[in-house]
Symmetry: C2
Amino acid sequence: MTKVTAQLSVSLDGFYAGPRHNGDGDWMESAEAAAFFRVTRWVTDAMAWRERQGFTGGVRDTNSEIIAETFEAAGAYVMGRRMADGGEVPWGDEPPFRAPVFVVTHRPRETLVRQGGTSFTYVTDGVAEAVERARAVAGGKNVAIAGGGSLVRQVLRAGLLDELELHVVPVVLGEGLRLLDADLDLDVKEAIELTPVRVVPTPEATHIRYRVEGRAPLLLDDRGSGGGPTTTR
Amino acid sequence: MTKVTAQLSVSLDGFYAGPRHNGDGDWMESAEAAAFFRVTRWVTDAMAWRERQGFTGGVRDTNSEIIAETFEAAGAYVMGRRMADGGEVPWGDEPPFRAPVFVVTHRPRETLVRQGGTSFTYVTDGVAEAVERARAVAGGKNVAIAGGGSLVRQVLRAGLLDELELHVVPVVLGEGLRLLDADLDLDVKEAIELTPVRVVPTPEATHIRYRVEGRAPLLLDDRGSGGGPTTTR
C-alpha cells in the first residue's frame, strides 16, 4: 500500500541547512550550503548515492544500504519549487529520481521529461493535489516528499504524512533552516504524536523512522505519585 | 575518570518543556508543564525513578535500567537556580539525588543539607567553578549537569561538557523551551562536532549518548564529484 513518506538529514539541533542564503554571491560558498554539506556528508560518501549521480567510488556500508532502500521505495516524488529550481541544472539530463516528480508551485509550467524515468510536473493547486497526483502514478510504491524542509513541514501540518525518517547527524549548528519549526499550527497543549518503527545507528548518523500517529492533546498527570502496580516489559 | 555529563528528555523538535510559564497561575497547569510532563512520561513511568521518589509501582524495562544507570553514574550534580528553587519543596526532606548538588546562582545562601546524602551548595562565581567543586567531591564518578536546559547549554558553550545523552521522545510540540537554542555562541560556518557512542531504542524514547568532540569549522566539499576509491565499512 502506498505510504506518504519523507526523510531528511538534520543536525542534532534540527537544522537541515544553514541560515537561508540571501542570493548575494555563490550559494555553494554560503553558510546555508556549508551546513547542508555537513548534514548530507554521509549521503555523498555513500556508494548508492554516488551510483545514482554517475560518480565513481564511495563507501559500501549501512548508510549506503539505507539510501538504496530509500530510492527503491519511492514510486513518485513531491518536491518544493525552490528545491526543483535549484536542482534543475546540477541534476542534468538524467536526474537521480528515476520516477515522476510533482513540483508544488504557483507558476504553471509545462511538464519536463528527462532521461531515466524522471519527469517534473508542475502542480499549481496545492500540496494535497500534488500528493494525490503522485499517489496515482506511484504503482503501489511510496510517495516520497523530496523536500525541502518547508514542504515536509507543510505535508506534516496537513496531516498527509504517514512516515518521517530523520537521519540525525552528530553535529550542533546553532542556526539555520530548521525542519520542525514553529509553523506547524499546533494549539497550546496540543502535539503531534509519533511512534519510532526503526532505529539504525551508525557513526555518521542515527537513522530513526517514525510512523506519524497524528494530533493529540497534552495531558497533565500526577507525576507518578498515584502509585500503581509493578509491571515488566 | 570523572566525566562531565548531561542528559535530558527532549521532543523530536528539541523541546524539554513548553513555552516558559509567566508566573500567573499554577505552574502545574501551564503549557510549560504539560509539555515537560509529556517528554518525561517515560521517566515517571519507570520503576527506578519511582523508587527514588518513594512511589510504588512502575515499569521494569530498558527505560528503567537507563535511569538506574544514570543515577548510579553521578557522584555530584550541578544545577541551575530555577530548577533548584522549583524542586526545593516537592523533593522534600530526602531528595532523589543522594549526592552533593552545586547550584549556580547570583544569590549567596547557606548550604542546605538534606537526608540520604543530598546537599545543596550555592555557588556564586560561575558555572566553571561549580563544575570544579562538584568534580572535587565526585569520588571518581561523573559530574552530572542536572539542568535546566539553559545550564546544559551554558556548559556545552563553555566547552566543559564531555558527554550529552538525549532521550528523544517521539512527539512534536511546536513551541517551548528548546535545549539546543541559538545562544551557543558559534561563528558562521562553525559547529560543535559529537560522536554517538551508544544508541538504545525503546518505543517511548530513543536514548542517544554523544561524546562531545568540540568546535570545528564547517568545510565545503565537491559534493562527491571528485570520485575516489570504493571502500567497504
